[in-house]
């Protein structure tokens, strides 16, 4: 793909079941595209080193940190964000986070829930160590993680 200075690129993505086509600067990060161009602000930004995981989404079935991709790299992809996992009611993971007091300020929560969503897709019955390992790229400053780990276990049970 050749893009000349100042030119924009066309990006077509399916987000939470809806197709969007937008022209963006080639350097625009996927997380900014989701938040600003699509207008879904549930996906958060917590760092600039791909460390914190607040921007975690599901892209083509895999969890990705949406700050590590340019928007154009998602061209043609299917994306699910925090706004897209429950239907008319809460997803069992959301229920489990609520019932286990797995959040305080809520800022890491969308990323944490999306990473859990991926973790439980790939490993429906994780051990405590597997949960810790599966969430190691998502930082929470409030809870001490204990209730998050409980919530993931609980969600696994609800989804079986």
């Amino acid at each position: 793909m050749l893009v000349r200075p100042g030119e924009k690129v066309k990006v077509k993505v399916k987000v939470n079941g809806i197709w969007y086509e937008k022209e963006v600067e080639p350097r625009k990060l996927l997380v900014h595209f989701i938040r600003e161009d699509i207008g879904l602000t549930g996906t958060k930004i917590g760092c600039d080193t791909s460390t914190c995981g607040a921007c975690t989404i599901i892209m083509n079935g895999k969890s990705v940190k949406s700050c590590t991709l340019f928007a154009f790299q998602a061209n043609g992809a299917e994306i699910t964000t925090i706004e897209g996992i429950g239907d008319s009611k809460l997803h069992p993971i959301q229920e489990a986070f609520k019932d286990n007091f797995a959040l305080q300020c809520g800022y890491c929560t969308p990323g944490m829930i999306m990473q859990t969503y991926f973790l439980l897709k790939t490993n429906p019955n994780p051990t405590e160590e597997e949960i810790k390992d599966g969430l190691h790229g998502n930082i929470c400053r409030c809870t001490g993680y204990q209730n998050i780990i409980k919530a993931v276990k609980d969600a696994a049970g609800r989804m079986r």
Binding site: T41, D48, Q94, C105, R141, Q146
Partner: protein, 731 residues
């Protein structure tokens, strides 16, 4: 009848936050918003000669570039909010770009030319104390000097059986709220509306009006959803003034959101104290005298001095030491200014006194719990040597309960050690000081449909205080908790307020809400008397209803509200003022002093990292409104304290370059390091408030580091006097 207070009620705050519908500052969009990007100093100390912005102004989208902005703000440096003559630390604002989008704003920063001459920097606080090189030109490095003294410690130490000297270091940490700081300022003639990631919109309004009051009639501050703060989002920041000034100048909405790298350079760091202690202990375990030289590393501004005052006056902790002197020195360094972080002075004091207890016990060969018991305050209220009045509680009772649990940990410790494992059990006892005032406000308003809205002046941001206050109000009014909605964080909702800091919100705002509810009940009786044609004296309020015990007649709160609102038009023919509202302001005439104990059983692994095998905490925080919320504060606080003990440290090189400039370098903990925490509580030491709560927001960050350090010290059999422990250098 208490239906809700004391119960683990699920949070009312959660539905929004688990669905991505939370609205943090950066989630709010207004048409025509300009994005603010800030050029910052990359050097720790320099003379600033010239800033050339002409190339930046040529960049597509750039509307304005601001340099040299200067306001007089109490306790802030001369070069505030922007450097105009001197660069004082890495991260200090130099210029601000306003552009139509975020990317071009940051592009423009690269086109600004800064001409400066590097000056020698002062990084080590002990070097700063010598006052040879200056951190700020023309100023002594010693920004603050105060002595707290009681009795005759020198004499007591010299006549004691064993004398000990230690240097105890508590390094700088970064509060690390997951949401970086941010502000959105929306301009209208005469009125600015500000959305901010803040712990106190009311205080922010006041400090902004101090500077901008002549340029605008009012500033309404709205606290957006806040992604954590831990003390770091309370006091004025340079960017607050730059953003507000920019929106006044351009007459447009202006948004500034910190990147993490900016946040870690500019959000006030916490802790940063060195204590050189001398103490004397007698063979019977009595601690007879302490002499402490406390050096606090203020960074490039002096607003953190109060933290040293708290540390000095709380140094005696829950022990009846009478002869003590603390010489406090606040020194400038070319680092990010220092201010409060969860615990604010008490974790430092507790770490020092708990280290003294353990070290004293080791020196005389006594059990450290026995030594603590020998010195513990046995009667409350108690006036400490610096005049603090410890309110109430039974320290020994909690201590003995904790001791029982700890002896269990010690048994496991010795079993594991006999298997050759590097395991240690550590114990801490702490006294907290909280409910920093002076007061808080609440307004309880019954709507025509019987729903109750509670407005509080406190500004919670993750603690779940709204749920706790809904429990208090629902109990007091005898109504369903789902009919109570608690709102906060907007200066246009309530006359005045303070905010959420110092573990105060549930006690101060909660009691204001309780008293306001009582006013509503009183008013409900008077209105019902009119509606039921009864004497006020015949009626009483019980379980959500006004009852006439004689006639058996009653009206529910909902019915009274509905009757007041039943018609539109007509006249009001009752001899009582309409409306079912109560507003109350509540303050306490002393701070509250909860206390507790933390215990850890840790193992030092081959690679030098720690495993926490067991962790147990017990606290007495007065009445616990919602044990689930309180436990959440403990669990989160323990992991923060554990981070402070094991991995978190803001590190500068010798020249003053920040080596921990992002989350990739700063040692924030992940789920991999997490462990299970068992928590219990007592409710003996009740505060003087009608609902006698105290506060638990900071207790765990106070109790954890000394327990973890003691456990590690025992596992390694090496004395540790530094936070974080840097085990690689200890092993």
């Amino acid at each position: 009848m208490k239906k809700y207070v004391g119960q683990r009620i699920k949070r009312q705050e959660d539905p929004r936050l688990i669905t991505g519908e939370g609205r943090y500052v950066d989630d709010l969009e207004f048409p025509g918003t300009l994005y603010l990007a800030i050029l910052r100093s990359t050097v720790p100390h320099a003379k600033l000669n010239r800033v050339d912005v002409s190339d930046a102004l040529k960049i597509n989208g750039v509307v304005d570039v601001i340099t040299g902005l200067k306001f007089k703000v109490e306790n802030r440096p001369d070069n505030f909010p922007m450097a105009s003559t001197e660069l004082l630390y890495v991260g200090q604002p130099i210029a601000a770009v306003l552009s139509t989008d975020r990317y071009s704003a940051y592009d423009a920063l690269d086109s600004i030319q800064v001409d400066y001459d590097v000056l020698p920097s002062v990084i080590d606080p002990e070097e700063s104390l010598k006052d040879q090189k200056r951190a700020i030109e023309g100023k002594s490095n010693i920004a603050y000097k105060k002595t707290y003294s009681s009795g005759n410690p020198e004499e007591k130490i010299s006549s004691s059986d064993v004398k000990v000297e230690e240097k105890i270091e508590i390094n700088r940490v970064y509060p690390s709220a997951m949401e970086p700081r941010g502000i959105l300022s929306i301009y209208q003639p005469d009125l600015l509306t500000i959305y901010a990631s803040t712990q106190s919109p009311h205080y922010m309004r006041r400090y902004l009006l101090d500077v901008f009051g002549s340029m605008v009639k009012d500033i309404r501050v709205v606290q957006a959803d806040v992604g954590g703060a831990f003390g770091s989002k309370l006091f004025p920041y340079a960017e607050d003034y730059i953003a507000v000034y920019s929106s006044l100048k351009t007459k447009r909405p202006v948004k500034w959101i910190a990147t993490r790298s900016e946040d870690i350079r500019t959000t006030y760091h916490g802790r940063g104290q060195i204590h050189k202690v001398k103490f004397g202990v007698n063979k019977d375990g009595s601690l007879v005298g302490i002499n402490d030289q406390l050096v606090i590393d203020l960074g490039a501004a002096s607003h953190g001095t109060y933290l040293a005052d708290i540390s000095a006056t709380m140094l005696p902790g829950p022990y009846k030491i009478k002869d003590i002197v603390v010489d406090v020195y606040g020194v400038y360094t070319n680092k990010t200014p220092l201010d409060q972080y969860r615990g604010a002075g008490r974790p430092e004091a507790t770490f020092v006194i708990e280290r003294i207890m353990d070290i004293a016990a080791d020196e005389i060969g006594m059990d450290p719990l026995e030594l603590r018991k020998k010195n513990i305050v046995r009667e409350t209220p108690y006036i400490n040597p610096f005049g603090l009045k410890y309110d109430n509680g039974d320290y020994l009772n909690l201590f003995e309960k904790a001791e029982k649990a700890f002896r269990g940990l010690e048994e496991r410790e010795s079993v594991l050690r006999s298997e050759g494992r590097r395991v240690g059990a550590g114990f801490s006892f702490y006294l907290e000081q909280n409910n920093f005032g002076p007061w808080e406000s609440a307004s309880v308003r019954v709507r025509g449909d019987g729903k109750v809205i509670v407005i509080i002046g406190a500004s919670p941001h993750g603690q779940g205080t709204a749920t706790g206050i809904a429990q208090i109000v629902a109990d007091e009014l005898g109504i369903d908790i789902n009919d109570v909605e608690v709102v906060w964080g907007d200066t246009s909702l309530i006359g005045e307020g303070y905010g959420t800091y110092g573990s105060r919100s549930l006690t101060l705002a909660g009691n204001a809400a309780l008293i306001a509810s009582r006013k509503v009940k009183d008013k409900a009786i008077r209105l019902a008397a009119q509606f039921m044609r009864s004497d006020v004296q015949e009626l009483k309020y019980d379980d959500g209803k006004v009852i006439n015990p004689k006639s058996g007649e009653s009206m529910s709160l909902r019915e009274i509200a509905a009757k007041s609102m039943s018609t539109l038009g007509g006249t009001w023919n009752y001899k009582e003022e309409p409306g079912l509202e109560g507003t109350a302001y509540f303050g306490l005439d002393n701070l509250t002093f909860p206390y507790g104990s933390h215990m850890a059983l840790v193992e030092v692994r081959e690679d030098g990292l720690l495993n926490v095998l067991e962790y147990y905490a017990i606290d007495d925080i007065g009445t616990v409104v919602n044990p689930m919320l309180a436990e959440g504060q403990v669990m989160g606080g323990v992991l923060q304290g554990y981070g402070e003990a094991t991995s978190e440290e803001v590190i500068y090189d010798k020249e003053g370059n920040l080596l921990t400039g992002s989350f990739a370098e700063y040692g924030i903990l992940t789920a991999m390091e997490a462990f299970n925490i068992k928590w219990e509580y007592l409710e003996k030491g009740k505060s003087a408030a009608p609902l006698p709560a105290k506060g638990i927001g900071e207790g765990a960050t106070i109790g954890t580091p000394p327990a973890v350090v003691r456990a590690t010290e025992k596992a390694l059999n090496k004395r540790i006097t530094r936070l974080p422990m840097r085990l690689s250098s200890v092993i």
